[in-house]
Amino acid sequence: MAYVLLRHRDVPDINKIDVYKKNGGFAAFKKAVTKMQPVEVTNVVKDSGLRGRGGAGFPTGMKWSFIDNKNWPHYVVANADESEPGTFKDREIMESNPFQFLEGLALASYAVGANAAYIYLRGEFWQVAAFLDEKIAEMEAAGYLGDNLFGTEYSLKIYTHLGAGAYICGEETALLESIEGKRGQPRVRPPFPPSYGLYGKPTIINNVETFTNVPMILANGADWYKTMGTLDSAGVKIFSLSGRVRKPGNYELPFGATFRELIYEHAGGIQEGRPVKAIMPAGASSSLIVVDDKVLDTQMDYASVRTLGADLGSASVIVLDDTVDIDWVINKTIKFFKHESCGKCTPCREGNYWMRNLTNRIHSGKGSSQDVDLLLNVAKQMQGKCLCALGEFSTMAVVTGIERFPQDFKKVVKA
């Protein structure tokens, strides 16, 4: 099957503007701006069943239709903060198929009437930002960005904005605060960005991968898109596969492919032929799934993964084999969340601090079984009380790790 998102793997040099144009590039954007009403663009995306690829899976077209048309100007923001441990798909898209992403961003901007769009890249993507700046300049020179596009009244500028090393800025309202020149701390929601976003104006925020789907949907139609994937999760997804597999990397597959296909058919199985012990389907924020044959044969889509007591999230699949101890895993994830907690809300700031003390003690062999109970207790007390998903998700691996892999903790605690 031809690639929908990672098209650079089929079409060499698609990151050059002429090659992209020759392969149908910008036709959808030109058609939209010259022949379609903005709401028609939103409706096609709505009909396609496209859901947000940043992790939450919210229906994209529905989000666009929430834009407040009584308050102007509007903004569109691309979330290129890609910081979830295990996620590395947006970097490949931006480096290798940048114009399809930029065209998707332009289409979204037209659909909601935005004349300015920002791409928020994590600070580490310094080189990627410089590269995108070049590509944006090429689009301006070719008349795909700027004033009065295609002789219409529509104008659009795209700007890049670099973060500076803060996982929390992937949370959409923290991201907006960061563009506004503040510390990246989440806002209380509601109001949500489509009514109160960047500079207090209606704003649509989507993930890089989400935007990259849009030109293909406009070009080929909503029905074409729905021929791929499952009823609940239409289309294709890039699965970032890491951990103990033979061939880690990005794999673009239709939703509904199984874990077994991903790990064994595409990634060559596990190193040294060892068995899979656990899967984290949504990066460090993920619940730990105990793996058996039934799990391996489960379809990777939003609804099916939920039946395993986990979420698909951004589909950053981390694979753990039987040599990996779960107390070590949660010590790693909590080290991360403790470092990245923004400090705004108490349950997350203090909870992660104490979880870090406990996981460290347990992993170093100095903990008791009461410490494990206390850790579980702290994690559960945090749940439902944090201001944003960072705090909520920081507890997932801890709770499911202790509850689903008790033997790993019994092994390390003092009698």
Partner: protein
């Protein structure tokens, strides 16, 4: 020191990205600019940026403190930031970092005697399939070094040393 005098073109470009009534948005790119030469941001630079954007020096300092890629203390010319987060650690990142420190004769967080390289352990850099990996943060920005070995890393450090000598 004044950024507007040292980098007039860059400052103008940065300010043009944001609505004039929201020029505070320029604080992050301006901080990168201020950090370019010395690798850290001093008090005078924070004052300069605060003045330019009509915000307080404390607000600028709070940004420097919040984001891990801004530094308010001098370190090596290049910060070698090794990812040791879960996915990289599953592919040998902790051993890589230990061996690197052993080879350089320093601990994590320390700087080589010649002041060229500071080794740091950092959180996920979105290169989980290419571990062991690190980024270098230096005067020429941030660069990724994927699928690294100790040998290749020592070669890179030698090359940086050589370039540094030639500059001087």
């Amino acid at each position: 020191m004044s950024l507007e005098k040292t980098y007039p073109k860059e400052v103008k470009q940065i300010l043009a990205k944001y609505p004039p009534e929201h020029k505070r948005s320029a604080v992050m790119p301006l901080l990168y600019l201020a950090q370019r030469e010395e690798g850290y941001i001093n008090k005078a630079a924070m004052q300069d940026i605060a003045q330019m954007l009509d915000i307080t020096e404390t607000e600028v300092a709070s940004i420097v403190g919040f984001y891990s890629l801004y530094h308010d203390e001098k370190a090596g010319k290049y910060r070698m930031q090794v990812c040791t987060d879960l996915p990289c650690a599953l592919r040998g990142a902790d051993e890589f970092l230990n061996n690197l420190c052993g080879n350089l004769g320093i601990k994590v967080g320390e700087t080589t005697a010649d002041g060229l390289v500071t080794v740091e352990a950092v959180m996920c850099l979105a290169s989980c399939d290419k571990a062991p990996m690190f980024q270098t943060q230096g005067p020429d920005g941030i660069k990724y070094h994927d699928l690294m070995t100790i040998d290749r890393t020592m070669e890179l450090i030698d090359a940086l040393k050589q370039a540094n000598k030639e500059e001087k």
